[in-house]
């Protein structure tokens, strides 16, 4: 496989993993009755989630631009 393909897939993978993992870092959706439920379990988890989205889509740019 070409290096650019690997990087692209890696970026997608990292993005998706960030999204999935950070989802579990967020405040739990089923919890409403305690103070902790109002905080993400890891600080800035939503930002990590969004970062995942950005990385995943950036892969397209990388893939298009990357020189083989």
């Amino acid at each position: 496989m070409k290096r650019s393909t690997i990087v692209t897939w890696t970026m997608i993978a990292v993005g998706v993993v960030l999204m999935v993992v950070s989802y579990f870092f967020l405040a739990t959706p089923w919890c409403n009755t305690a103070v902790e439920c109002s905080n993400p379990r890891v600080p800035f988890a939503p930002a990590i989630f969004v970062l995942g989205v950005l990385i995943a889509f950036s892969s397209a740019v990388y893939y298009a631009v990357a020189k083989d």
Partner: protein, 248 residues
């Protein structure tokens, strides 16, 4: 851990609105804002008319729609049953307000330095400032400048931030001192009660057990912590009469 509930005894409520006023002074709410609100209703036609009253604090729901929709966790529920707003986190999207079926949320439409303008009292009058030190309102309660609970969030009082959501806090600053909320404290006819419902032998638990009760809009499944005793839930026939000036 306590689990606070409020009981409203509609067989005793005289609709006097002392609770609204006590809340206003205790929490320094701005003009037009009534965290505690008392409906005065009329039903029927002359001469078969009836009057009823209905105090409406925040219901502090156990399944609170406002907590669910808050995008930042600024609106949260504590283990002791209080539903509070972190004024330092709220972004002012007002989603909690549209989600709440009880209409208990109040947004800071005015900036704090103009929140009392409608009262036509110039608290910056130099003669007055010499005495008050320029605090607005001059009866400002300093309890609201400190953070509450183990979570250490700024959650009590009113009107000190621009553009955030506020509502009844069950007087968290008083409850944490072992006092009852200001509305309950002042009720001249003993129509409001407050206490720990987790303790089965507490006066409020006994009272709830011994009386028939209902919750407002029970059918929505919000499970309010405010329990009504006596009287009846408002019907679609209930017409509100004698409204305070609530529009800012």
């Amino acid at each position: 851990m306590a689990r606070y509930k409020m009981v409203v005894d509609l067989d005793r409520c005289q609709g006097c609105r002392a609770c609204m006023e006590a809340c206003k002074v205790e929490n320094n709410t701005p003009a037009g804002v009534f965290w505690m609100y008392v409906f005065r209703f009329e039903q029927g036609e002359f001469p078969d008319t009836s009057i009823s009253f209905l105090p409406r604090p925040c219901q502090h729901c156990n399944n609170a729609p406002c907590v669910k929709v808050c995008p930042t966790g600024a609106r949260y529920k504590r283990e002791d049953g209080l539903v509070l707003t972190d004024f330092e986190r709220c972004i002012g999207c007002r989603y909690c307000e549209v989600a709440c079926p009880y209409g208990v949320n109040y947004f800071n439409w005015r900036k704090p330095d103009h929140a009392f303008d409608d009262y036509k009292m110039d608290f910056s009058d130099p003669d007055l400032v010499a005495f008050t030190g320029g605090v607005v309102p001059p009866y400002r309660n300093p309890d609201h400048d400190v953070k509450h609970g183990p979570e250490g969030r700024l959650t009590s009082g009113s009107g000190h931030f621009k553009g955030v959501m506020e509502k009844c806090t069950f007087c968290v600053h008083r409850v944490e001192k072992g006092l009852v909320p200001a509305c309950v404290d002042t009720c001249p006819v003993g129509a409001l009660r407050f206490g720990d419902a987790e303790d089965e032998n507490s006066p409020i638990s006994v009272f709830i057990r011994e009386h028939e009760s209902f919750q407002l809009l029970e059918e929505l499944g919000t499970d309010p912590s405010v329990i009504y005793v006596g009287g009846a839930p408002p019907s679609t026939e209930s017409r509100e009469i004698e409204r305070p000036m609530t529009r800012v």
